[in-house]
Amino acid sequence: MNSKQKNCPKKPLTRFITDDDNCWQLNQYKSFGGYEGLQQALTLSGSAVLDEIKESNLRGRGGAGFPTGLKWSFVPQGDDAPHPKYMIVNADEMEPGAFKDRLLLEKTPHQIIEGLIIGGYTLDADIGYIFIRGDYYTAIERIELALKECYNNNLLGRNILGSGFNFEIHIHTSAGRYICGEETALINSLEGKRANPRAKPPFPQVAGLWGKPTIVNNVETFCNLPHILNFGATWFKSLGRFKDAGTKIFGVSGRVKTPGLWELPMGTPIGEIIENYAGGMCDGYKLKGYLPGGGSTDFLLEKHLDTPMDYDEIGKQRSRMGTGTIIVLDDKYCPVAMVLNLVKFFAQESCGWCTPCRDGLPWAAVLLEKIEQGKGELADIQQLEDLCKFAAPGNTFCALAPGAVEPLQSALVFFRVDFEQHIEQQSCPYCNSDNLEDGDDK
């Protein structure tokens, strides 16, 4: 598809967000060109839309970065395909340090709904679900109202905009488990079962919700769809600064001067995000390391700041882009305490299904606590390393435990001295170096 003679935006995802408190409503959304992507899609066949999505090189924004078009192409198509087919928006944002979906959910509910309808049209799906974190009260309220607006304006229901396409959307508020971010656990949860991940195969694309073909994608992934349809795959690819296409909402938290969220081109170097957008470190603090993509990614150091925020490039540095929300560790906060906090969180969020996660993570948490409290032994470091290997990808049922030990395994390499100091001094060397209140007000 050719890039239209339209005013092609540089920041498509946030272009609907204005200072107006009601910018999330249908009329405002439409006034900025909302639902034009859908109208564009409805003029094409489903397979043509899928080709456009494939062409755009859009990769899943939930963290794994799996090519969206490829994922969708596994869904059975044609007259004998099973129905109903389901499209699910994974809005259960619970990654430590991630708050990007919340922005989109609260400010642009129609953008998500439009993306979901386009997705449904692409794959001839029948029902869409927005599986949303239960604590996102504002977002839930707005999405519910937005859905009503859609039903009232023939954007949902039977024969959408006269196209003959029927599509329903339901909102489901999650009971609050991190594991629901795992797509098959999300599906189980939606079915009213325990939120345990499922065995794969079968993949949800062929047998997901209620055993039917199902697509689960992140909020941000769906948000990209209207723009790809509206402005074309070529335009979308041109947005990226490196290999990956499009823009992304990046975030920074920690002791930086202006923590927050910014829509930036894919491939923006990490250092640029921290320095130019987050304003650099707070006065009196030095950058010690950072988790580039949220709580379940490996630490990177100052020397990696030139790395572009690009799935493969971050991968080369042995970390992951994840959700693209950077958590900064400064020189006055104890890295052991930070890792302990994270491992505790993940141990708490284990569904309890497989051993390395259920029993391995609490074990690691106990050891970290022991070290942090100044009761550690050198052998504990060895045990922690063993436990990181124990929870490696492939050893566990899903990706929770491998993600959970990522900050730990990299901290054991990059901040080993800190661990050893804890043990040698039999106390936390940071216990007097920091005043937490100072940094946390931002």
Binding site: P201, A207, G352, D359, G360, L367, N395, F397
Partner: protein
Amino acid sequence: MTNKVTLYIDNLSYQVPDNINLLQACLSLNMDVPYFCWHPALGSVGACRQCAVMQYQNEEDTRGRLVMSCMTPVTEGMRISFNNEKAHTFRATNIEAIMTNHPHDCPVCEEGGDCHLQDMTLLSGHIKRRYPGIKRTHNNQYLGPFLNHEMNRCIGCYRCVRFYRDYCGGKDLNVFSSKNNIYFGRTESGNLENEFSGNLAEVCPTGVFTDKPFSKHYIRKWDLQSSPSICTHCSIGCNIYATERGGIIRKINNRLNQDINGHFLCNRGRFGYQHVNHENKISQVWSRDHQSNKTHALDNIHAHIKLKKWLNESNARIIGIGSPRSSIENNAALHKLVGAHNFYAGIAKNELTQLNLLTKTYESNQINLLSLKEIEQTDTVLLVGEDVTQTAPRIALSIRQMTKNRGINKAEKFGIKPWQDEALRNITQDTKSPLIIINTHESKLSDVAKQNLNLSPNKQLILLLEIETYLVNNTSHCSELAISIASDLLNANNPAIITGTHSFNIELLSACLRISAILKKQKNNSGFYCATSAVNTLGLSLLCEPEQDITHLIESIESEPPTLLVIMETDLFRYFSDKKLTTYLDKIKHIIVIDQLITDTVKMADLVLPATSFSEQNATLINNEGRSQRAYAVMPANDMRQTPYKWLAQHNSLDDDHKLYQYIQSIDSLLQPLSQFKSINKGDFTSARQPLRSSARTAFFANVDVKEYAPICDDKSNLTYSMEGVSAFRQKTLDNTQYKITTPVTGVWSPKWNSSQAINKTSLEDKNESDLAVKIFNTASAVPFEIPTAQQKTYNQPLNTISVCPHHHIYTNDDLATFSSSIGELAPKPLIHMNQKQANYLSIKSGEKLTITSNEYQISLPCEIHNTIADGVILVPFIEYIRLGTNIQVPSNYTDGEYDD
């Protein structure tokens, strides 16, 4: 048919079937691969991660990839390593993680010595604890009389909930909470409701769920004496191991028989054994002195003198009553003693007629007789007139598995194998193979049924006749319901008709048989299964003519009282009212009762001969599908108890086994196959009933005497009452083709595998115990027989009559099991059940008493309303129903009104 594939394990090549997973393959090759969450009947879910092995892409691949063997299908040429260091380290760390919260209470844990977790921990090499944290703790629950609950021992394998919920359809056990705080239990303390809950003691790999009755007389596994036996609590003939110590039966374990019970027993079978240890068991000969009206003990010699005297009295008219829960041998001995004409079966009149119909049909080869395993493989089941969940529960479990077949086929299209349990369930969702239940009320199978048709017996019959008509003529005169059921049967590849004799409805049974016969003509894979009342009911029926039932017996006594009545293991008071029976028994000069327990009938006897329980005798029992199975004694007979046929041997000239089995064969040609039990090939080796010599069991009677007495010799089998001989199923590794019948396995054990999970270490071919059984109905030689058609009058009966029907209950139906205290605890109060409409019609409220009368008996029980009960049906407890006999009437003032149908 399965094909074989070649796989390479640590560079050695092996041949395994292609339809199994890698774990099963390794175990069958006798490799010690540890695992927890996998179970042969429950499939794989990949939760515990204990069975990890290294898989290589090809010969060049040296790096490999860790895979869970339980989740990996075997493929041609696949290369794996079990001994790889990384894989070994992973397994060691995994068990160390599993054990972080496990208490060190093995010495006081009843699972100790019979614990899969103990075995796996040692296998994986975890001997030192590194975890420095505090263990999590849980509160335990009261789960009823069958199971103890000790959640602190839980290792989170999820097998209990997968068995209880997914396999058995139980609702009241679940997993709660998350992370390492997962809790397996009920929402609150209370009896576990499912009929198969007892299996949790074996399904749980450690001591979370343990056998509670066993706790009360606990003995370590290595101190138990064990032998292969047959469950005597219903007609299925599940295979069990009975275990004993010091003359007390300690517990019943499942004995794998793929054709019948597989890995699971019902609670009645597992916990019904306590009658053997009951205080009312008879241990000596008792004689009643009519002059002094006193009872005194007799010695063996005087007992026989008395018996001989009574048998040889001039003008002696002797009648014998055989028992459906006693062996073929015992019944044949009595049959010989009293003569064929004077031998009556302790079976109700209607059931004996049903049995006659069944055996004739089975002999005629018009239908395919199914095993439970074959039921599990069918794809449509029509279950008629029998609540098998209560009368023969193990059948219900097989039917429940059958409903999963459509889902299995669906999953196959996704490349998912039947053992990939979790994936299978996600694809299956609510897909079920059709199960259509026609009965008077809903049962515990109703949740998986496509249709639950609750109808009065007459309406059931009409529906069946319509189905029959449709199957024959394809007419459109039938009701839509009949057509839809017939279509389900016709659309199936291998449909099955399942019924039972407990409705005592001969018309219904013959309709089922005719439908099966018609189906078989159209579909050679169709099948039939019929539950009967007791473990040897079908066997006993072969020894008598159709009129030699218990009602005819009473008529015979009435017309000409015998001088001697020999009653074997039958409590006549279960069939007749006290008053009626006492009147008749009083007319008889001498009554001899041979039985195990003091029943009301025993109290009427002039001479009581103590009989052995199932645990003290070698016996042949014929189950409801004509499978003749051998059960072995687990202990020598206690005190003066003797196997009934031995009591009679001096008097019926069947004084050796050879003569006995020759006589058995002469009664009915169907009993020919039993000849192989007549000569015991003691062979070159014996099997030990007791486990390895490493135990301290010889000290058991040290408080009495320090001498170790010579073990009692068992001359009826090649099992020993000692540790001498080959233990457990080690002998299976020997070439035992020439000892097919005579080398029973006395337990489950394999080196390093002390729990019952050792069963998975045998080669796949060796697992079956069915070589200990012979099927008597030979499909090769059919005896022609025409199944009688329905008699016009029956189904033209007015529909507005009230039918009183039997209400069965797993814990009250079987007389021996009711002697078990744990089972008795769960026995329901006797109540009369009906629906609200019926109650309104009778102007009766829930809780009020209703009186029902028959010719000679009257019951008056409180009512309870259940709206799944069909209109026009009143359910009374089975025992009361039997005693009511014929001509049952709900008092006439109720039935006057028009019944609004």
